[in-house]
């Protein structure tokens, strides 16, 4: 039992890491990774929604009729998105402003609905939590990596908590392309290419 739960958790971290292995949830990963900080914030918000929506979907999986399951899942997800939105507005207001409409847009993040449909609606609440947590942390890691790549090249800094830390000397010319829109696409494309080079094991 414990072993299978650990397996559900770790698969989200590498073998099925969401944006790279199964190409889902691309919109936020492209839009909010201008800085590492934004990436982490977005990742944690998504993790919160994933864990709770997975748990509740799994809890009600025998009550929800199959025909109307998608609307029911969406309502559950939207509830937790609203909660996370209000929490961020209260406690991390600057981050809330930076992420803007991408917080309510977690509702339509394909990963969340995808996990509810593909995993939580078929498995027990405990393994659904493990799955949600693993997927969420994997997603946060991907956002962090792309954020770090774009911010370090585009700005020459890394922002972890509010203040940017300069990485290179004063003679560094920022590669502004990377923090603009095209850099997001090219950066993610190159990361995907690197992921393809590493075997899944």
């Amino acid at each position: 039992m414990a072993q299978s739960i650990a397996k559900e958790f770790t698969k989200g971290l590498w073998t099925e890491i969401a944006p790279f292995r199964i190409v889902l949830g691309l919109c936020p990963i492209l839009a909010v990774t201008k800085t590492v900080e934004n990436g982490i914030g977005m990742g944690l918000a998504t993790t919160f929604v994933l864990v709770f929506s997975n748990f509740f979907v799994s809890l009600f999986r025998n009550v929800i009729p199959a025909k109307v399951r998608i609307p029911c899942f969406i309502v559950i997800i939207a509830t937790f998105v609203t909660i996370v939105e209000l929490l961020m507005q209260a406690y991390t207001y600057p981050l809330f402003l930076k992420l803007g409409i991408f917080i309510p847009l977690i509702v339509v993040n394909c990963i969340v609905l995808g996990r509810a449909e593909a995993f939580a609606s078929k498995n027990s609440p405990i393994s659904s939590i493990a799955d949600g947590l693993g997927m969420g942390i994997g997603y946060t890691l991907s956002l962090m990596v792309l954020g770090a790549l774009r911010e370090s090249l585009g700005n020459g800094t890394i922002t972890l908590t509010g203040t940017p830390i300069a990485l290179f000397g004063p003679s560094f010319e920022p590669f502004t392309f990377m923090v603009e829109a095209p850099g997001a696409f090219v950066g993610l494309g190159l990361l995907l290419c690197i992921m393809n080079l590493i075997p899944k094991k």
């Binding site: 919109c27 939105e85 847009l105 829109a181 090219v186």
Partner: protein
């Protein structure tokens, strides 16, 4: 801001796919063939205009009137989901020819973040009713334009010899980056 500037801004400068990164899953998912890209683009235009107008009305006459704006996320997604369902049933019954073309794309639209995103942008930028109508339509046109351009390129890439690790989505994203760069030229137009 004049309506024409708003329209140009929505189609080119703030292109929903390439500048605002909304709706990227269908962008990469349905752009392998020209046919599916055209179908998806038409379905998005159809649903987005209706969703934009209806969510604007819900926001102004229901949520703001009752002072329950914190329910915006929940109510918008419900409006979009039921609208998509309704459009699907309506088309199936009354315009079967159009349904045959759009049919399989309609359910996908519920989780297309471009639709939800535009509805939220309309509210966030405090557009009037007419501006909402124009912006929803033009964002959808911008989506279709980018999707069809990209599908054309992708059909060509599919017959090219791409190095193995770059294949499929990876080269797709890099191509999208280059198209996005070309859309940069529109900056400063409005």
């Amino acid at each position: 801001m004049g309506l024409i500037e708003l329209a140009i801004g929505c189609i080119f400068v703030n292109n929903i796919l390439l500048a605002q990164f909304l709706g990227n899953c269908p962008f990469l998912g349905t752009s392998n063939k020209m046919e599916t890209a055209v179908g998806m683009a038409m379905a998005v235009v159809f649903v987005l205009v209706m969703a934009g107008v209806i969510t604007w009305m819900v926001d102004h006459y229901l949520l703001k009137a009752l002072d329950i704006e914190y329910l915006r996320t929940v109510s918008f997604i419900l409006v979009i989901a039921s609208l998509v369902q309704f459009v699907e049933m309506f088309l199936k019954k009354s315009i079967p020819a159009l349904y045959a073309g759009l049919g399989i794309f309609l359910p996908l639209i519920t989780t297309n973040c471009a639709v939800m995103g535009v509805c939220l942008i309309n509210i966030k930028d405090e557009y009037t009713f007419i501006e909402t109508l124009v912006s929803s339509f033009c964002y959808a046109i911008g989506f279709g334009l980018a999707l069809i351009l990209f599908a054309g390129l992708r059909e060509r890439i599919n017959i090219a010899r791409v190095p193995q690790p770059l294949q499929d989505t990876s080269i797709g994203l890099i191509t999208a980056g280059i198209i996005s760069m070309s859309f940069f030229a529109f900056k400063g137009m409005v």
